[in-house]
């Protein structure tokens, strides 16, 4: 009698465990939650299709698609992590991962990912998601900043059209924008709502580093010649040459498109994925093309913060989650995701896909830049968000608008900036 009671209790206990084990139903089917930040129609469709394909072929591991939002992902994830309710597979960007990785919320993926995936994605891309000794996300989509140009106006002006093989230098770019300006029209419009990331990422082309890590591991800010070329060019285009309007300095990329379509600006430096908006919104017959950003001493190098897929440390099904990530990022699938988001895949196999080498919509130009994309300079620096918000953003905004000079910009970035960083490195 007593034994029977024990058996009943044991069975009941097992059932209870089965029911409470997060993500596993009484039939043993695991359910993973995949929070995606895809938002454009084609991108959402690509993600949902891939989830459906996985579910059709994996009856024991179901994936539930959860729609997240770029607008609020950090706060939402932070609360979910604290409450132990985070999704199993998390879509985010590498520059948002540092706090979560150092906070122990994300799983170290080194022992979870397949060798195929590890070798398919280049080392420089893995560096964007490496924090300390661990890897906390799979970088899978990225976009260079390119010049979207009014092709007709460039042709008429007779300027040399740059290619990834023979890009403009920063000095040449300045000359070209001067030539394209006049009569209320400008050679370029800089949308610098987020001046820090744009400036720092483009400054890599001129050898800018800004953040220097010492032998003791401490990071300090030094605003040297390589860091100054890009900001000085923009400052002079706005202030001295009048080849760039000051009215767009506080604007987002989309805000400059009406002026671009209306013939006010000949070129707009934008992320590669903006092409989708241009295709949708450009007036019929508007002839546009994609040009590489200007090159400096380090050629076309520029910083990027790729989109990433991570696995929550609290997920009880990390192995299955990693298998799903591996499925999503098979070369063909990575291409589908890239095309849906109008971005570049990080995978070397995916980058060979012919769909990414067509001249239509400038795909070939962007793909030619893929091997020049490096981790954004600051993303692993602790205290970077505060440095950016409190010191660098106002300093760059004032410099570009002409309110302060290069000396004052340097003083603020270095002196004020190092005080902020020091607090994070005690």
């Amino acid at each position: 009698m007593r034994a029977r009671l024990l058996v009943i209790l044991a069975v009941f206990g097992l059932l209870l465990t089965a029911c409470t084990d997060s993500g596993r139903d009484p039939h043993g089917v695991i359910t993973l939650r995949f929070q995606s930040l895809a938002w454009q129609q084609e991108s959402v469709a690509a993600n949902k299709d891939l989830v459906a394909e996985w579910n059709a072929t994996h009856p024991d591991v179901k994936v539930k698609y959860v729609q997240g939002s770029w607008d609020s992902v950090h706060d939402q994830l932070l609360t979910s992590f604290e409450g132990g309710e985070a999704p199993d597979v998390i879509h985010d960007a590498s520059d948002d991962l540092a706090d979560f990785a150092y906070g122990g919320y994300l799983a170290d993926l080194r022992g979870l990912l397949s060798d195929r995936l590890k070798s398919d994605i280049p080392r420089r891309s893995w560096r964007t998601t490496t924090f300390g000794d661990g890897i906390y996300g799979v970088p899978f989509l990225q976009e260079p900043r390119v010049l979207i140009a009014d092709a007709g106006r460039l042709r008429k002006s007779g300027v040399r059209i740059p290619t990834p093989e023979r890009p403009w230098s920063w000095a040449e770019f300045r000359q070209v924008t001067k030539k394209l300006s006049g009569d209320g029209r400008y050679g370029v419009a800089w949308p610098l709502k987020e001046p820090v990331s744009a400036t720092l990422n483009l400054s890599l082309s001129a050898g800018g580093q800004l953040f220097h890590r010492g032998a003791d591991g401490r990071v300090t800010v030094r605003f040297e010649a390589g860091d100054q070329l890009v900001p000085r060019t923009i400052h002079d285009q706005v202030g001295a040459d009048r080849s760039a309007p000051d009215s767009t300095l506080g604007s987002g990329g989309s805000d400059t498109l009406p002026g671009f379509f209306g013939g006010k600006y000949a070129m707009v430096p934008l992320g590669f994925s903006y092409r989708q908006q241009i295709v949708q919104q450009a007036p019929k017959g508007f002839d546009w093309q994609v040009l590489p950003a200007p090159a400096g001493a380090d050629g076309l190098t520029q910083g990027v913060s790729p989109q990433t897929l991570s696995i929550a440390e609290d997920s009880p099904h990390k192995k299955e989650a990693a298998e799903f990530v591996d499925f999503l990022l098979r070369p063909k699938n990575m291409v589908r995701l890239a095309l849906g988001d109008w971005m570049l895949p990080t995978g070397t196999e995916a980058l060979k896909d012919p769909a990414l080498h067509t001249d239509k919509y400038g795909w070939a130009t962007g793909t030619a830049l893929a091997d020049r994309l490096s981790p954004a300079p600051a993303q692993s620096v602790r205290g970077y968000p505060e440095w950016k918000d409190k010191v660098a953003t106002p300093a760059f905004q004032e410099y570009y608008s002409g309110a302060i000079g290069l000396g004052e910009l340097r003083r603020r970035l270095e002196k004020d900036g190092n005080l902020v960083l020091a607090r994070y490195q005690r």
Partner: protein, 277 residues
């Protein structure tokens, strides 16, 4: 003193300008909702769409479950409004009629509690609701909305109760009415506009609320309208403007309709007791 014709015209003109100023964001939203993508990127935007289209509405409904989200929002907002008013009304009555030190302290605490920002409470609240197994449920969200709306609802209702002269209740008592009868037949009808206004406030604040809904609801099928609207916004603030405007326009309609229906009662309630007749 009689106002001259010129002065009167000036007053109406100023009023019209003020109305336009207030209505500008909404009118622009409506205009955007009916514009095709190419018109949205025009260098010279027009108020009236040159080539009006319903494509944005179609795309918004195709891409996001707007109807289901609206039903979730409606359930959360109605539940919050009803419960907040049910709790706040008797509390407000006591606080208004019994002017003790405790009542004053309670009112002060209610005002102070309004100062707590969302981010301060969200993680403890999340853990609390998790322990109560109310995460990812609309009833859990309603509970939060009630707690969040209660201080202001209470503060509003105390004002309305004070506007009802206590002498009326005393007169009813002299005429032999019981306490309950007095409350039901004398106080409640006079308080009705205030209760409606308070319920409306609770409804609108719950209908528009975003952050709690974002954090507390995980299942896509349970998400409310403000959360679903953010799905039209991408990285770096890039937005799918047309469908976003169409969905936002539809999301604004219920608040407008409710407000239009009961606005007379609100102004009536606000003016009650303002002057002695």
């Amino acid at each position: 003193m009689k106002t001259g014709k010129g002065a009167r015209a000036g007053q109406y003109l100023a009023l019209l300008a003020y109305l336009l100023f207030l209505a500008f964001p909404f009118l622009w939203l409506v205009s955007t909702a009916f514009k095709p993508a190419r018109e949205l990127a025009s260098l010279h935007p027009t108020w009236i769409p040159k080539d009006p289209t319903l494509a944005n509405f179609r795309q918004a409904f195709d891409e996001q479950p707007l109807l289901r989200a609206a039903l979730n929002s409606l359930a959360a907002a109605l539940g919050a409004a009803l419960i907040a008013v049910l709790i706040a009304t008797p509390m407000a009555y006591v606080l208004a009629r019994r002017r003790t030190l405790l009542a004053k302290a309670a009112t002060g605490w209610v005002v102070v509690s309004q100062a707590f920002p969302f981010v301060l409470v969200i993680i403890p609240l999340f853990l609390l609701l998790k322990n109560l197994r109310l995460i990812d449920s609309v009833p859990g969200l309603v509970m939060v909305y009630v707690v969040w709306a209660l201080p202001f609802a209470l503060w509003m209702l105390v004002g309305y109760v004070r506007a009802v002269p206590a002498e009326l209740e005393e007169a009813a008592a002299v005429d032999g009415a019981s306490r309950v009868r007095t409350l039901v037949s004398i106080t409640a009808p006079l308080l009705a506009p205030g209760i409606v206004a308070t319920a409306l406030f609770a409804f609108i604040s719950a209908w528009n609320e975003f952050f709690f809904a974002l954090v507390l609801l995980k299942t896509p099928e349970k998400q409310t309208l403000p959360v679903v609207l953010t799905h039209f916004i991408g990285a770096e603030g890039v937005a799918d403007l047309g469908p976003l405007a169409a969905a936002a326009f539809l999301a604004t309609l219920p608040s407008l309709v409710v407000f239009a229906i009961i606005q007379k009662r609100i102004t009536g309630g606000m003016l009650a007791g303002a002057v002695k007749s």
